[in-house]
Amino acid sequence: MASYTVTHQKARAFYDTYERKAELQNQTHYCPGCGHGIVSKLLAQAIDELGVQDRTVLISPVGCSVFGYYYFDVGNVQVAHGRAPAVATAVKRSRPESIVIGYQGDGDLAAIGTAEIIHAANRGEPITVIFVNNGIYGMTGGQMAPTTLLGRKTATSPLGRDAMNEGFPLHVCEMLNSLEAPVYIERVALGNNKQIMHAAKVVKRAVENQVKGLGFSFVEVLSPCPTIWKMQPVEAQRFVRDEMAAVFGLCNFRDRTKEAQARPARAASPALEDLPRLLDLGNGSGEDAVAACPPQELDLRIKVAGFGGQGVLMLGEVLAEAGLDAGYEVSWLPSYGPEMRSGTSNCHVRLANHAIDSPLVSRPNVLLALNEPSLRKFLPAVEEGGLVLYNGSEIPGDCVRSDLRMVALPFTQLADELGATKVGNIVMLGALLEATGILEQGRVVGALKRLVHPRFFELDLAALARGRGEFRESASDDYLWGV
């Protein structure tokens, strides 16, 4: 008796029976002669042969192949229309050891998901993408796809696809081939035995590349949709071979698998105990930092305003940082609206010895105006008895308010004398500190040290001193505003 051995049978990567399917659990849901069935088979075969069933995650699209998880006994993620490359990107990056295979139709990949496929390819995501081009929207009943051939009638191109109206068939492989990153790009077809056998090899290559840790691999499969094409399966196969392949040339567009470097493994994760340090936490002023809340009653509501580049936000930040160091409750809120673009800038800073309700300063008791428009804009809101420092040689006559303490000093000029216009803000800060006596010098110096570039640190110290000095000289004792 002659004895026989099985050479080809259902791949192990397929479930024996399709229990996730409501009925007909021995058959796929595909129409007779559908290319999706063949592509699935080639893919399952490749997974078997490469021994990666346990590691594989299949990303199923929206389209006739939406039910990948009915059949494939691998990890399955079903995703939104067109987004498989984005989802695949994250699955692969989350689990670099997994073999991530995106499976998409032509509507899914080449219309709604065009951006996602191009960018996943351009990033060189080390995944495998199987692109089933049947030139039609199968699942939704035969509307035009971006890959529909010219002249073909579809439900949404009833007179036949006209280049002047619907554009030309989209050549995805050629498009991706213009990118630097992809490692492997090939278009194959299911038009006859030879093409199918070749497709089997190419699909396997595309998965194997990933197993080897190489980059982005892409296989376009010209595939029959006998039902929507209204053809017998054999006739549809002929159409793939003769008509589709004539427009979409079968070709290996790229094979850089020899040159491609396997991706370096991600660095080992740090120990959890190291995270605070890696997050730059706890790098404040050090052990001597905050003791108990200082005894002084304090409720500073400061508005700092000027034009961009004057260091408005930085001035506020130094105040908040030093205030926190000194044990106060603080808040700092920048204006970042459109006015930022047109040049003006302001921030709200609060320092208090109690919890701060609103970080928005609507009734400031300190206004630091670095230019005249800011003075005019915010002066009316300053609370009676408040302090105003103005960057100028004198307060404009119509701005004088007798219920406020107002000091004008040419802070920018003073900074110029120090050799750097940009430290005008720190000169002003010096004057504010001198005027109010709110923060110890050490706190402010500590804050500056943390916040400014080391290159400017000495200059800033000089600016601070200059501001204090100028204020002492210019202002009479009545202006000292202790708190």
Binding site: Y69, V87, A90, L324
Partner: protein, 365 residues
């Protein structure tokens, strides 16, 4: 741990990493961009993944992939980007994938502007995507809460297997306040249902597709039950000087802070005003608001939108008390003085009341 002056948008990222977030996929937009910027710096340091996606559509779907693979993951955006993500929200909720999304609200509609608003309330709290789903929504009013609620958001997301939104506005994202971060970092193990690409999880599957009506109904009922459970267990709010309040101000996020200042101003003038600040917007503090109506004569809702939160307050009260409404939009915020003027004007009868005012609270206002 020592308090550290931190920007709201940065606090989110640091808290997220400490909570075990190891993936950030996002697309820049003002006023949320610092979140992506901080994530680009800190996620890789923590051994995590940062990808600048090609769009918010891609970003939210990358979140879908990372969550499916069992990694704590997040993204952040503002109005226009959040609008693009709505399809993804629906898929995430449908597939029961946990993740955290920060929405740092800006002015709309359309391109609007980049200044703060609260006009994404309906889109986020009611659900801007399709289908029967909800997102859980937490609304910080300070940088400290940006951190704390982000930490909690990751736990909520895992517990309910649902997306959780940290809904803040440009003010809170951009401002700096002292923050005390969690002293200890955590890294929860990947959940059992995740698709990790290994033998153990080979049979796992993530999908939002349920073809059979009966099966989809069962699935939707399950989601519905989860949301009810959240309504029973997760409501958070802050009640501020409401014990004797005749007028209860209601506002969330930055507005809550302004209203606190307004309460102090009003109290100083002898008006019995309090504040109810929802911290969870879904689930909404319906019972708590209803409870206050037993004593309060009226409610006033203040928001940076033309009337979104106010609908939920009205629904909560079901006519038990009158609800007045005050809003600023376009990037403007009312000052505490504006709110006081509104209250005085709207409730003329409530001034002045012989209310015992504690001295120190006045000073601290």
């Amino acid at each position: 741990m020592q308090k550290q002056l931190t920007k709201g948008n940065v606090a989110i990222v640091k808290a997220a990493v400490l909570a075990g977030c190891r993936a950030f996929y996002g697309y820049p937009i003002t006023p949320a961009s610092e979140i992506a910027e901080a994530a680009a710096l800190y996620l890789p340091r923590a051994g995590g993944v940062f990808v600048q996606a090609e769009s918010e559509v891609a970003a939210i779907n990358m979140l879908y992939g990372a969550a499916a693979a069992g990694v704590r993951s997040m993204t952040a955006s503002s109005g226009p980007g959040i609008s693009l993500m709505q399809e993804g929200f629906s898929y995430l909720a449908g597939a029961e994938l946990p993740c955290v999304i920060a929405d740092i609200m800006r002015g709309g509609p359309g391109l609007g502007n980049i200044a703060p608003e609260q006009s994404d309330y309906n889109q986020i709290v009611k659900g801007g995507g399709h289908g029967n789903y909800r997102t859980l929504v937490v609304a910080p009013d300070s940088v400290q809460e940006m951190a704390d609620l982000t930490t909690w958001a990751f736990d909520l997301a895992d517990r309910y297997r649902n997306p959780v939104v940290v809904l803040a506005d440009g003010f809170i994202g951009q401002m700096m306040e002292p923050v005390e971060f969690a002293a200890r970092a955590t890294l929860p193990a990947a959940p059992g249902w995740a698709v990790r690409g290994d033998a153990e999880t080979r049979k796992n599957m993530v999908t939002s597709l349920y073809l059979e009506p009966d099966i989809l109904e069962r699935h939707v009922r399950k989601l519905e039950e989860k949301y009810k459970q959240a309504e029973r267990n997760e409501v958070r709010f802050e009640s501020w000087r409401t014990e004797d309040a005749e007028i209860v101000l209601v506002g969330y996020g930055i507005v809550g802070r302004i209203l606190k200042a307004a309460v102090e101003l009003a109290r100083a003038r002898g008006m019995a005003v309090g504040l109810l600040r929802p911290i969870t917007l879904f689930p909404f503090p319906t019972q708590q608001i209803r409870e206050l109506a037993k004593h309060a004569k009226a409610f006033a809702v203040v928001e940076l939108s033309t009337g979104q939160l106010v609908d939920d307050v009205r629904l909560a009260l079901e006519g038990r008390a009158p609800v007045e409404f005050f809003s600023r939009v376009g990037g403007n915020a009312p000052s505490a003085e504006d709110v006081l003027a509104f209250v005085e004007h709207t409730f003329p009868g409530s001034l002045p009341q012989p209310v015992a005012v504690r001295q120190e609270e006045l000073i601290h206002g």
